[in-house]
């Protein structure tokens, strides 16, 4: 993963009349990242994607992909970036292969190349036996996979997926997420918008939480969790065989520990960094038997709920 910034927005604003959909959004996404865009419906996720792709004009601010301006150089942007819209549609009377063929033609691929490529891609997304079936017979999950093939046909450097897992069955979700992870392995920078948190958590390296058009948090899932729920601290939970005051006192004395709560035989230790080693040592020193020790992990769900419950107050 390099530090080269691929996608950047500066003070990006989109308003519809008085309603501000995206409010001074500053975003920078580096090469090879899988960036998860989170937020409730109407938070401005899709609008941001549309502005990045030049499909709608920002009210003010700039958006660039690989240095190209989304407003002034939309064709260059679209050469580099693939987009899978939320409700993707295909020409129902054409077959899967014909639909991809049209996309290939619009991307200026020669027939020779596109025929082989379509074959390969349909194989990758697991639709090769449906290649010559009309799209009207496809399920939603199949269309979504065909959509991924449609994005991949131009060999994008950046791919945008808008709610790629919405409305498909669990097996289909696995397939779609697998394909996205597969693209990420090929060094494609991916931006994924979703409100299905555990899907995002599975594939994303970074997430940004969007609320009412503003980016309220950005970082890796771990970072966000530490920052938000534990107030920037690591929380370690240990369970000992029997409660002991001595242990609590000793633990409190460890450098870096900022607080200890004990309830029964469970100790909840807040510290500035991962101090499990030191805590184990102290416990051994005072003959306490540690039944289990774990570092608290934060799910996106908790982070997300924390953000939005706070904002509502």
């Amino acid at each position: 993963m390099s530090d080269k910034v691929i996608i950047e927005t500066r003070d990006l604003v989109k308003s519809y009349g008085k309603f501000v959909a995206v409010d001074r959004l500053n975003l920078s996404i580096t090469e090879g990242q899988v960036f998860g865009f989170l937020g409730p419906n109407g938070a401005g996720k899709t609008t941001t994607l549309l502005m990045l792709l030049g499909l709608t004009e920002p009210t003010s601010g700039t958006a660039t992909i690989c240095g190209y301006d989304s407003i002034r150089e939309p064709v260059e942007i679209k050469r580099l970036a693939g987009y899978l819209p939320e409700k993707v549609g295909f020409y129902e009377d054409l077959t899967a292969a014909e639909n991809l063929d049209y996309t290939a033609a619009l991307n200026g691929l020669s027939r020779k190349i596109s025929v082989k490529k379509i074959d390969d891609l349909l194989n990758i997304v697991g639709l090769s036996d449906m290649a010559n079936k009309k799209v009207r017979t496809f399920s939603h999950g199949m269309k979504q996979r065909l959509g991924i093939a449609d994005v991949m046909i131009k060999d994008p450097k950046v791919a945008f997926f808008d709610e790629p897992t919405a409305g498909i069955d669990p097996e289909g979700i696995e397939q779609v997420l697998g394909l996205i992870a597969n693209m990420a392995r090929r060094k494609v920078t991916i931006v994924l918008s979703s409100h299905q948190l555990h899907h995002v958590q599975k594939v994303c390296t970074r997430v940004g939480i969007l609320s009412k058009g503003r980016l309220v948090a950005e970082g890796s899932v771990d970072e966000l969790g530490r920052e938000k729920i534990a107030g920037g601290k690591v929380r370690i939970e240990i369970q000992v065989a029997e409660p002991s005051r001595k242990l609590v006192k000793l633990v409190e004395k460890i450098k870096g520990v900022t607080g200890v709560e004990s309830t029964g035989n469970v100790l909840l230790i807040s510290c500035e960094k991962d101090l499990r080693r030191q805590i184990a040592k102290v416990a051994a020193d005072c003959d306490s038997l540690i039944v289990q020790m774990k570092i608290e992990e934060y799910g996106l769900d908790e982070i997300y709920m924390k953000y939005f419950s706070e904002r509502q107050i």
Binding site: T46, L50, L53, L55, T56, E57, P74, V75, E76, K78, R79, A81, G82, Y83, L84, P85, E86, K87, V88, G89, F90, Y91, E92, D93, Y102, T103, A105, L106, N107, G108, G147, D150, K154, D162
Partner: protein, 313 residues
């Protein structure tokens, strides 16, 4: 340019494969060929004298006893339907099916989509009109046995040209509505509404306006009568159907090029056919008006479409 060709090819193929086009073209071939040939060929023989000129053209102008069913009338009725059928869902159909956001995220300029669609519709209309005229000419040649002269051939080509422009107007109008209205049913109804309006109500409105401005009363003098009729004819010029009818009348009936009501008072004159360039001169304002109306509609849809936000809804 390459993108335009891809869109054009696909849309053309779509047009010719669509069931509604097939049905409509069958009606037009069937109705046009059978009825026109049958009616015209029977009436031509009886009307021809030794001095009759432009016998071949009569294939396209002579109607049955009811005076209703001549070929130009047939075309002026069916070409609008053809244009509307080809264009009413051009853009909103793509949007509803979810194709628009997918297609417009390909590396083509946005106008390529609308240009390609218009061009494909235009070529479809052209192919249908040309083949229909050729078919009638072929059958007519066998039936009446009089070959067309060079002047007549030129006139036929002019007729084809004007008919294509007439079709282009209805196509552009339908596309305009398909850009402005999100629902397919709304845009279809709007186009049909305009068609019915100019077909039926324009002449009604024209006579109402004329009666207000120049009321005829019990015993109108000739001057008043002429003024009244002139107002009627001027007002009806807002109808593209009237524009089309007048221009092809000038082209196809060289002996009676007169199309303004004033001409009624000169009917005692010997028919004296005009050369083609003179006929063209008479039809020119109408032809230009048709082209201008087409350009206006197309420009409207173009501007709206270029500024529009493309969102999958």
């Amino acid at each position: 340019m390459k993108g335009l060709m891809s869109v054009f090819r696909k849309e053309l193929a779509d047009n010719f494969n669509s069931m509604r086009f097939i049905i409509l073209s069958l009606i037009m071939y069937g109705g046009g060929v059978l009825l026109t040939i049958f009616v015209a060929a029977q009436n031509i023989r009886s009307g021809v004298t030794e001095t009759t000129q432009f016998i071949f053209l009569r294939l396209f102008t002579v109607s049955g006893d009811s005076q209703l069913f001549s070929f130009p009338f047939f075309m002026s009725f069916f070409i609008p339907i053809l244009g509307i059928v080809l264009g009413f869902d051009a853009i909103n159909g793509e949007r509803t099916s979810g194709n628009l956001s997918r297609i417009s995220s390909q590396p083509i300029y946005r106008d390529t989509v609308i240009n390609g669609k218009f061009l494909a519709g235009l070529v479809t209309i052209a192919i249908l009109v040309i083949s229909l005229v050729m078919l009638i000419s072929g059958i007519g040649l066998r039936m009446i046995g009089v070959p067309p002269g060079p002047d007549e051939i030129l006139r036929l080509f002019t007729f084809i040209f004007i008919t294509i422009i007439y079709g282009a107007f209805w196509l552009a109008l339908a596309i305009l509505f398909s850009v402005f209205f999100d629902r397919i049913a709304t845009s279809a109804l709007a186009s049909i509404g305009v068609w019915i309006f100019v077909l039926i109500f324009v002449s009604l409105i024209a006579s109402v306006i004329a009666s207000v401005v120049a009321p005829l009363g019990q015993n109108p003098g000739q001057a008043l009568q002429i003024q009244h009729d002139q107002i009627v004819s001027y007002v009806s010029l807002i109808s593209p159907i009237v524009l089309y009818g007048q221009s092809i009348q000038a082209i196809l009936i060289p002996s009676h090029p007169v199309m303004f009501v004033v001409s009624l008072y000169y009917t005692g004159l010997e028919p004296n056919p005009l050369p083609l360039n003179q006929s063209l001169l008479i039809a020119w304002p109408q032809i230009i008006s048709l082209i201008a109306l087409t350009a206006l509609c197309f420009a409207g849809s173009y501007i709206r479409f270029m500024r529009e936000e493309i969102r999958a809804t």
